[in-house]
Subunit: 546 residues, 2 copies
């Protein structure tokens, strides 16, 4: 039996495109002699569909898409992820399902049992967990078909009580197939390999695993679908961050003609680089835009976003706007221009002095000689937002936000100023990782000007300002933030690790106080296991611990 | 046996304040002879604590607060809502619990079974549903104690399979007590009364119901705790939108000394008015601010927000900034000044022409004579945001957003412009309701200038502009939006109701296209069953139906 794994890039709610893509893959797989083609979790509608699932019309479109796909399934079977309705009147209305389709008909439906609700996931909001587990029979082969986290209860994971495979194994299946929508984080693939490999070994069965690929606003799927043998060894892996379709021969209880290969993941920074490129590209492709605009300061963050945008969209589709203030240094403008020249993207220079001065004059009667402070710093940042948003509105460009995760965390940024944008490219990349990324981008030739990398970071909103006036060194700050944001440690535990007590309390307080700002920031491309946004839901008006 | 119901206003994460409030209520109840005092769901930490629940330190503070409260429980027992840890290694780490505390000790713990995950709720993200149901024994009385939605499976509600009361009734309880954190929506109290009354009648038991009161950022709790007799009749009701503590005598299976009273809810518009006042007041009180600032246009929306802020915070704590553009009409300034004079709040006049002209000059080299369009309209709106945010930054004022729900829905507003603010006051109030609210506020004397109410709505961003140039009449628009946003109807279903087909498609498309804007808007005080924000989670880059 020949089984094709189809790792595709879906678009949430775009039934026409998803259906066509799926049918094309079915036809390609059939042409190549496949008996069965496997698609990812919720392939029909894209993942995560969120509250679209509460619209009857959306469900009807899922159903008619499944019918159209089924009609294309002749001479080949397919496994297809889709929401289906719960026929019982008890429980939630829907299941997260895998349809087994053969001869133009849905022959059986497998429903997901272990519904994630942590971080970015909300599956229990929509779906009833399955309590029934049955293998699928196809051409004399018994397939233990599961959906994503239904395999994650391995190794005594205490989160889940049920263990679908423990029930399916009773039927003595020949093969495991798992369809997933498992989002990218730079460390997540290691976990996936371990969990999947452990399953193969525990149940002594080969395992075919199909993930989605592509970005859905902030959530990036990295693909990298796997084939394991019954000893938990990797036999093959599909591409990362790209669509792929491969066919495997399964016979005599084994995947044929393949020998184990070592697990050889990309280094974290490569993964982040590839993930961000896909995130940018899909934001534009799927929202129907082609051109990006951003403010270019001469600093490292905006330089990297500009370089990534140029790589993802083509430099001809990127417009950099240099907006020097009276506090900008000459080298900033030179560094920004060097980057523009390295990339070959369009640029404009729009000094902000005239507007900033106008606001200061207009506010003088109210502010009556009060000293220059953060208010005037923010006015400059907001003048820049007015300018780049004018480019966005006038020319239909999408504004890319250039804030990094360290700044987002401590609120070192101006709401409606440099925190503006349609999508945040670096909001899940700590400043220390930003430097790594710069060196990675420069690995073959200097793209990011060396001076943008080596000079001390500064917002240049007052004379001689440096980030280090307000913030600890980024290598300390980022390690501290990781403990609090990613690991949710208390100040007590962080101090016990040797961090300065006063610093810990100050930084945690800054993180907590910035919650109201983060609520209004753009969606952030998620590359870590804990990005700001949907995956971290903190009260705004709460009394925070510190 | 005397039972006190304590309807208190908690502050999420403010353990010191919540604990003190609870102990004060225990002492007051004891002084008045109560044997038992009942507090709301998650009273110890406030509701909803969201991802605070993932921080170990937060749970430790819940536990130490419960210990402190228990130590105050001598000569009186209490029922106290708190998260507790799941002692089993299987399942989620926490329960949403009611502790029964007597003689300084936790005597028993009841856990919630039916965990809401719809709209603003995320309980399954944190809590394991209970599978065990036992009554609580106190002074020879058997109490069927449940938490919030554990009573909502009445009347064959298909959402839930389990029915905690159906199991508890087996123990032949004498009394039902339900502790809740049931958020306000203008139509929600009617449902609550029906569900609670149906429970009393179904199980032939008196029911004491304690809700929270107070606002937690966008979510408002309206209090209005109830006492029902065993025939489902209302015997008493605690105050709406205020703290309250009342004591009831329970003996011989009945609540004593009370005769049934009719259910007499406030009209919707009164409820919305009271809810918004509480929402504004608690945002300021709980975040530690006293002063508000807002842009006042002369139109009805900003006039109402200004009036509500003056009522909630005192006019001396409200600063209105009039920011006429070259397109503002004389009557707008007069209408705004009339309001300022009616309310007695502070005001400034800061015309925006100088800054708007500066931006247009600065952008001229890039825009090269392209005609005035929505770009220049947005520049004006963004100049206003720069100005009011400067007031916010300079003086520590909180910026109130003045957009209404109709505008939010169709994206009729400028991101980083009039969509700015720390909290949106009217973002869940349709324009037609805004008019009702104006008339309600004016019920005794003219506060909102009549001219602001009767003149055609306009953003005044180009000569002679009116909302009706871009939008249908609000009475049609709002009915259409209600069908799509609240009821999630398809265009097909809405058209079948008699709405114009072209209009339906246009409006739904506008709603969908505005998703990226709404993602970045401030939290919106929730007064309806479906507010924009946490309770409506739509993809941004999705292909929408229309």
């Amino acid at each position: 039996m020949k089984i094709a794994l189809a790792q595709l890039n879906y678009h949430i709610g775009n039934f026409e495109s998803n259906t066509q893509k799926i049918i094309d893959a079915i036809n390609r797989a059939r042409t190549q002699g496949a008996d069965l083609v496997v698609f990812a979790e919720l392939a029909v509608c894209g993942y995560p569909p969120r509250d679209f699932l509460e619209f009857t019309e959306f469900l009807e479109l899922c159903e008619s898409s499944v019918q159209d796909i089924a009609a294309a399934c002749h001479g080949i079977a397919c496994i297809l992820g889709t929401p289906t309705r719960n026929p019982k009147t008890e429980g939630k209305d829907l299941f997260n399902s895998a349809c087994f389709i053969e001869d133009g008909e849905i022959k059986s439906i497998v429903n997901k049992a272990l519904l994630p609700t942590y971080d970015v996931f909300d599956e229990y909001r929509y779906f009833e967990p399955s309590a029934e587990f049955n293998c699928v029979d196809f051409k004399g082969c018994k397939i233990a078909l599961t959906i994503c986290e239904d395999l994650w209860n391995i190794n005594d994971n205490p989160l889940y009580i049920a263990a679908p495979m423990d029930q399916l194994i009773e039927e003595k299946p020949d093969l495991m197939i798992n369809i997933a929508a498992s989002p990218f984080a730079y460390n997540h693939d290691d976990n996936r390999v371990k969990v999947l490999s452990d399953n193969s070994r525990k149940y002594s069965l080969p395992l075919l695993y199909v993930n989605q690929v592509g970005a859905q606003t902030e959530i990036i799927f990295d693909g990298g679908s796997f084939v394991f043998n019954e000893e938990g060894e990797i036999l093959d892996q599909l591409k990362y961050f790209e669509e792929d379709l491969r066919i495997y021969e399964f016979a005599g209880g084994k995947i044929q003609d393949l020998t184990p290969v070592p697990y050889n993941p990309l280094p974290d920074i490569d993964q982040i680089h590839q993930g961000l490129l896909l995130g940018i590209r899909d934001y534009f492709t799927k929202s129907g835009f082609t051109q990006a605009v951003l403010g270019l300061s001469g600093g490292i963050d905006s330089a990297i976003v500009c370089a990534l945008a140029a790589e993802a969209l083509g430099p001809e589709n990127v417009t950099a706007v240099l907006m020097p203030s009276k506090f900008s240094t000459d080298h900033s403008i030179k560094d920004a221009m060097d980057l523009v020249n390295n990339l070959g993207c369009k640029h404009y220079v729009v000094p902000i002095k005239e507007a900033a001065d106008a606001f200061e004059r207009m506010l003088e009667p109210a502010f009556k000689g009060l000293p220059f402070n953060i208010t005037e710093e923010n006015i400059q940042a907001r003048c820049r937002a007015v300018i780049v948003m004018a480019f966005s509105n006038k020319f239909g460009y999408i504004l890319l936000n250039t804030s990094n995760k360290s700044e987002c965390a401590v609120g070192y940024g101006t709401l409606y100023g440099d925190m503006a944008g349609a999508i945040s490219v670096l909001g899940d990349v700590y400043k220390t990782q930003v430097y790594e990324l710069a060196n990675h981008i420069n690995r073959e030739r200097e793209i990011i000007p060396q001076n943008s990398i080596v000079k001390p970071p500064s917002a240049e909103l007052r004379p001689g300002q440096k980030d280090s006036d307000s913030l600890p060194d980024y290598d300390i700050l980022d390690r501290l933030l990781y403990q609090y944001v990613e690991l949710k440690k208390s100040s007590r535990d962080i101090i016990a690790q040797g961090f300065d007590e006063e610093l810990v309390r100050k930084v945690i307080k800054m993180v907590n106080k910035a919650e109201f700002k983060r609520y209004q920031t753009p969606p952030i491309l998620r590359v870590s296991p804990k990005a700001f946004g949907m995956g971290r839901r903190m009260p705004i008006v709460g009394k925070y611990l510190s």
